[in-house]
Assembly symmetry: C2
Homo-oligomer: 703 residues x 2
């Protein structure tokens, strides 16, 4: 029999639409929204033109803050240090090319979506894998914090109110994104595509228009801060100190590289040929990112943008510090003001698109976090239910954790992207480095067995790329740690340690349980199989639920069957007994005495006495249960049954059967449950569907 087929789906869908169209749960609906059909999930795999904005909004958006951070750090040594910025840009470009080239190898070798975690886990062992995972989890938190803070700053360059209430606005956006993702909105290609393409187009037009004006028309464009002077914190820096400063500036510039790994986690979401399309998208993304990054640095130099690490003190206007009230606009908005003019239509559009892309970049973390969680859950580092769909509670907990941590950081650091960036990148480069080292091992292993010369050549080439990648990213990691540790990178490391510890503990728990319940190899059925069953039906009154439970219990052909009631009220018990006889129910009714009106204890002790009497008998307890529709009805029903059930589960050799009786009101709960089921887990688009029929045909009956 084929189950779950189209016909049934059709029927179910009709029911669902009916239930959704009724206006129940109004407050929750308004807040969390209507659930979407899960069988639409991944109905279409992503074409490259959609995959690019979905996966690349994070790295592309980082050009909104990375160039500024470079200038900011250089300003410490005074305006003269600005001349190093093209060299730093060049270094970032080389790094970007290296990383992109390396990851193109990854997506070909590991198309399953495990990304850096899988690569490190497979090739370097579980500890390396878990380190990468912890690093990435921390990085997701920081992606949210940094992207939203930067988005708020960009929005603020057009709308002053936003900058004046920076922290509140940033937290507001976090809350909004969180609600959106709890609601289960599917990552939609078009939602991502429009602002991302507007942003990319805007930046390119700006660069082109700036180049045209500057080079062809030879006009002087002046940034709003062009007339400012910079007071060097350390004048005439040279030797080691200068190198250290340049390395710090480079570290900040590396923020442009965050999010590159997203594509390698999302390979299953691409159309076929998945790996090739992913690699192409990766190259496209790298090309766009470096062009935009360099273009903005170039324009910033051309328009004399001035940024300082401590603008209040070190930025001078007519020789006087600008003071606390001064708001330092992001470099992209200063450049836009110089090229398009402050407040012009293009300026505002670009600011809005920049902010939007940055918020989308934050949303990327909301999707990447559960995606990684799902893979970690598969390896039992996180609760198992993150791997399957549908446990909204667990997913929600993860999202709330992510949002809470990000909001905390935003609040502690005053939504200041410059300060938050000090924490950033550590995680990314930990995972870059470990992943590339893993890839080198991967090729080494494969080279051992591969004999075909063409493939060997290819592998050797790939290994060289990954080896260079490992070397370079490792170097950057050392630089980042050295230059940023005291500036805040320690916070990121602490976060990594916490994630690592938690996940290790969860894995240890699962392992110990797994060892406890592992089935013995020999005669598996023997040791747990009891010889007979005694069935007991719990009875309080003679009504339909009881009669149904009795009828069901009879069907099961137990060796013995009896009904059991507890005497908490002599009058009621007498009435029950009389009705029992009057109806001629052919099941013996046992009455337990309970002088203190307890229900649980007499039943438990009776069951225990049966088990003691004949330890090889299993006891099957049937509990008639009302199925109700509202929480307050739960308070009025089933309490004794539930408590008893909970206690019986602790008694070995007992199985507990709920025989439900659906009250009319249960329809409401049924509808709610269905709606809940149709929730879209964040990250599910990136994860792609299970490779259907890859190893098992559908609904195969293995008789």
């Amino acid at each position: 029999m084929r189950i779950g087929g189209a016909g049934e789906h059709g029927g179910f869908r009709t029911l669902t639409i009916l239930s959704v169209s009724k206006l129940t749960d109004v407050p929750k609906r308004i807040l969390i929204g209507r659930a979407l059909r899960s069988d639409k999930l991944g109905e279409t795999l992503l074409p490259k033109r959609i995959a690019l904005p979905v996966f690349a909004s994070d790295p592309l958006s980082s050009v909104a803050y990375a160039p500024g951070e470079v200038l900011l750090v250089l300003s410490v040594a005074g305006l003269s240090a600005y001349h190093f910025s093209p060299w730093i840009a060049l270094a970032v470009v080389v790094l970007m090319f290296t990383v992109v080239a390396s990851y193109r190898q990854n997506v070909h070798a590991y198309p399953s979506g495990g990304g850096d975690y899988e690569v490190a886990n497979t090739n370097l062992g579980p500890k390396a894998g878990l380190t990468v995972a912890s690093a990435l989890l921390v990085d997701y938190v920081l992606t949210v914090a940094v992207s939203i803070s930067s988005g708020i700053e960009n929005l603020g360059s057009a709308i002053p109110f936003v900058v004046e209430h920076k922290v509140a606005c940033a937290v507001g956006v976090i809350v909004l994104l969180t609600l959106m993702n709890l609601r289960g909105v599917k990552e939609s290609g078009s939602l991502f595509a429009i602002p991302t393409y507007v942003f990319v187009a805007g930046v390119f037009i700006m660069i082109a228009w700036g180049a045209y004006q500057g080079i062809v028309l030879d006009e002087t464009m002046k940034a709003p801060t062009a007339d400012f002077e910079i007071k060097a914190e350390h004048e005439g820096l040279a030797g080691f100190a200068l190198v250290f400063l340049l390395l710090r500036a480079f570290s900040s510039g590396c923020a442009a590289l965050t999010g590159v790994e997203a594509i390698s986690n999302g390979v299953p979401a691409f159309r076929k040929p998945k790996s090739k399309n992913a690699a192409t998208t990766l190259a496209l993304m790298g090309g766009l990112a470096v062009t935009m990054f360099c273009g903005i640095i170039f324009l910033a130099m051309a328009t004399d943008v001035r940024m300082a690490e401590k603008p209040a003190e070190d930025l001078l206007h007519n020789g006087v510090p600008v003071g606390e009230g001064y708001v330092q606009d992001p470099v992209i908005s200063q450049v836009a003001a110089a090229v398009f003019g402050d407040g012009t239509f293009f300026f505002v559009v670009l600011a809005a698109a920049t902010a939007l892309v940055l918020f989308l970049a934050a949303n990327t973390a909301y999707n990447g976090f559960p995606l990684l969680g799902s893979i970690l859950a598969q390896d039992r580092y996180l609760p198992r239910q993150l791997h399957t769909r549908g446990d909204r509670l667990t997913f929600s907990n993860g999202i709330v954790l992510l949002a809470g941590a990000a909001a905390l950081l935003v609040w502690v650091y005053g939504a200041d992207s410059t300060r938050l960036i000090q924490l950033y990148i550590v995680g990314v480069f930990v995972s870059f480095t470990l992943s590339q080292i893993g890839m080198v091992r991967h090729w080494n292993r494969h080279l051992k067995s591969e004999r075909e010369p063409a493939k060997r050549r290819h592998m050797i080439r790939s290994r060289a790329i990954n080896a260079f990648g490992a070397f370079f990213t490792g170097l950057v990691l050392v630089v980042v740690l050295a230059t940023k540790f005291t500036h805040g990178a320690w916070v990121a490391l602490l976060g990594m340690v916490i994630f690592y510890g938690t996940m290790t503990a969860i894995r240890r728990h699962y392992d110990s349980v797994s060892a406890e319940i592992a089935a013995a190899e020999e005669r598996p059925d023997e040791y747990v199989r009891p010889s007979r069953v005694r069935s007991i039906v719990l009875v309080s009154k003679l009504h339909k639920p009881t009669l149904r439970a009795l009828a069901y219990a009879k069907l099961m052909h137990a060796n013995e069957l009896e009904a059991l009631t507890v005497n908490v009220d002599p009058v009621e018990v007498k009435a029950l007994k009389e009705e029992w006889e009057r109806r001629g129910i052919n099941v013996p009714l046992k009455i337990l005495d309970s002088p203190y009106r307890e229900i649980t204890r007499p039943v438990i002790e009776y069951v225990k006495s049966i088990r003691r009497e004949s330890p090889r008998d299993a006891v099957s307890v049937y509990i008639p249960e009302y199925v109700v529709g509202h929480w307050y009805e739960h308070l009025l029903h089933n309490q004794s049954a539930l408590r008893l059930k909970g206690r019986l589960l602790f008694t070995p050799g007992v199985m507990v059967t709920s025989v439900p009786y659906q009250l009319q009101s249960s329809e409401a709960a049924k509808k709610r449950a269905r709606k809940r089921q149709e929730w879209n887990a964040p990250g599910s688009v990136r994860r792609g569907p299970v490779e259907k029929g890859q190893k098992e045909p559908a609904a195969k009956n293995n008789r």
Copy 2:
């Protein structure tokens, strides 16, 4: 077979002691305390000398505030009105005798502990019964609020700090009592006896000593306020206005009568002959209360106690108002200061005993509230589990509700007993009146059938007493409502309406469910009995829990048996299938496809398809369940199983069997569950044990 006997109890007790001696749950233990053995509950029924303090602390303690309230109201018409106070005391005494005489009839006629509610319900119908119940519930809240506020004021006469932080202290005592009762401390006779007897003895010594000094030694005793003057708010009040004032004073004096009904609710807790002992205790209590009440009024007159309704303005010292800073001590403490001397040993002991008795009176409400709740639950006006023991949650909710409402009142009324008393008494007199009217009807009914002259005479006498009681208490109710409605009685009425509405709604719900599930009279088994059973064992992996579930399912001889797994991970499913074959498990394994990694939906749809195929088959689903010991382990296990179970219960024709597998960690939860079971529900002493063997012999097996 005899079950629940001594031997088994012994074994269970040993286990319990072991589990309790382990120091788990430390924080909770400190707060809520160690649970007590429930089979000690009601081990001894109460002798009269213990029953008196347990049941009478409420009415006896009210002499601590009632006399003062009388003077307070009279002061409105100036000092001259104080001369009416003996007349008012006389009226209260007459009322007390009437009420006591009436209730002596009640306890003889209704020894089951249903009290006023039962009397009104039986004789006047459910609406009257529910009105009485609502009134009593409101009164319990007010007993807590008034007694604790007054206790704080009495304590404050010895310890000024307490009066300075009245509200905080009062709320603190409420919290303390609440925790005590949540903890499940048994109402202990000796705990009640000592302070109550110290209080009674102290008041009698004070009266005797005062009388001896005043009459025999002819010394002048002067209360601390003897030199104060009272500015009459309404000088020279006469005619209707004066009568109204006197009636208001009388209403306040009636506070001495609250709690009289407690004995009629507690008859089952008395030793045999229960009714006679209860009636004697009632008479004793009445005698003590009126003697103390009159004695204190008499001493207050003799020592020139001056109290004013608004002391700050109307109490003059040397012609000047005493002002806001002045604290008006309770009359009992002023009298004690006059007789024993302020701050002397006797004074402090009496103040402490008074406060303690008042707190015990409040505790009485904590026990009376669930007791009444239990009776209301039996009639399905409140959740059913209040009738049986053991649902700590429900009891706790009730207690927290009581405490919350009392604390709210204390806070709103600034822990001012004078203002709170305006709300009090309404409830008591509603229930007095309805109960007495009910008793008249009761005798009328019995007189119709009774032919024996001696019994008829007795009944006619009882009827006369109850009729007078009904008339008098009804009159008082009208007086109370007329004189106090705007002063706060409306709040009490509002509370009654809320309780009435809630209980009606609950009853309506139970009735509608009851009608829905009522078994048809004809061929009860027929319509619900399916013809065959198909058993399905849910499988995720092949481990001990799964093997146990398979073994149990096999025992049940279903018509068809299959194992079911959902393919959320092709690799795992492949491994499962291979192991299934390797182990040679002779149950067919069905694999459901789930492209989007859902578990619940494919299973539900499969079960539905079976039901559609053969609607007369029942489906029995076996779910292997881990039993774990800590909440965080729940997050890591069973989530899919629980969610699935919840959804299956909504599917008609399905029964769900949990086959538990007890992990080692489950021991912890088992112990916690046992401890929870040994909790003492508040009110259980008053309620007495079920009349064992009265109608049903213990553990009778009705085969």
